[in-house]
Symmetry: C2
Subunit: 168 residues, 2 copies
DNA sequence: ATATAACAGTTATGCCTTATAACGGATTTG
DNA sequence: CAAATCCGTTATAAGGCATAACTGTTATAT
């Protein structure tokens, strides 16, 4: 479960500072490394609740938006609809949400949290918040907000309809 | 607070602001979304070169550190050794690197870029740099540096040997 | 009204990434 | 020399992500 590695500290020959200096100049690479660390930690945090990153995310959105449909949930999480099925299945089987027929549309489902789902939501969200604060404990509040802001700006680039295409 | 274009905004009723407001309060969630955007864009950028994110990363490290071994490469990229095999195989088959026996150790390989590998490194790196600048074009240089710095601080948390029991 | 298109959820499928156990060969260590 | 360790490898498994295609249902267009 807990896997620790220490590639940074090498007590051997040489004093290679970092072999990935070029890659470090890319924002995306640093983000991959940081996200990898978060992902590993969050996995351990959610395991006691029987949740994974995606099932936790789905549960949160459902609790915050009771009655929404699977397609809306998939859109909110940027997950393809086919991949949403198993996630919702898992939450239903765990008794955390209900998949009731949507009124006025016999092909859609209305997703709602159960009482257990709401209870687990509270506990899991608190644990994840503690995890998040632990991961960002070396950032002061100003830096943390700037980080989130920067991440949002990066994500927003993909929504821009630029005709600029210089590849292929 | 900051609201950006939502992908799932469809004509009709309502003006649902964002269904993932709670998740947005977590640093890790914003990072996942931003990294997902970068990953998707980078995939298209590298495809013309016959490279994936991992093969590109490996090629860069090999060019920057000619002669290193697979285990060192795996450590540099935080990849398990078994998963390194196929990546190196692919680079060898593409004629971008050579897997020569390491001198002084008959079980290890010394990885070196071929001339083609160096040439592709130049072109691919330039393309990835353009990609990176495009993804961060909405950040001024100060913000970008702060972003990278913050990502490094987050990644560094996992190397700290905390005896602090957060839960369970 | 009826044919057609669009939509909701599902199934099946495949690729990529990541992680672990275990093996043979080589090297180091006691 | 024997045991432990290391290098690269194979096999295997789980998870995330993407696409095509199918069923029923709803909306639309003539």
């Amino acid at each position: 479960m807990a896997n620790r590695a220490d590639p940074a500290v090498k007590a051997g020959s040489g004093h290679e500072p970092s072999r990935d200096a070029t890659l470090r100049s890319f924002t995306g690479y640093s983000m991959k490394r940081a996200f990898h660390a978060i992902q590993a930690d969050l996995k351990d945090v959610l395991e006691p609740f029987g949740l994974r990153m995606l099932t936790f995310s789905a549960l949160v959105v459902i609790v915050d938006n009771p009655g929404l449909r699977q397609a809306e949930l998939a859109d909110a999480l940027v997950i393809e609809r086919p991949n949403m099925v198993l996630i919702v299945d898992q939450l239903v089987e765990a008794g955390l949400i209900s998949r009731a027929p949507a009124e006025g549309d016999r092909r859609a489902y209305a997703l709602r949290p159960t009482e257990e789902g709401c209870a687990l939501y509270q506990r899991a969200t608190a644990a994840v918040r503690a995890h998040d604060e632990r991961m960002t404990k070396n950032l002061d509040e100003e830096k943390r907000q700037l980080l989130v802001s920067a991440l949002g700006l990066i994500e927003a680039v993909q929504w821009e309809e630029d005709d600029n295409g210089e590849r292929s």
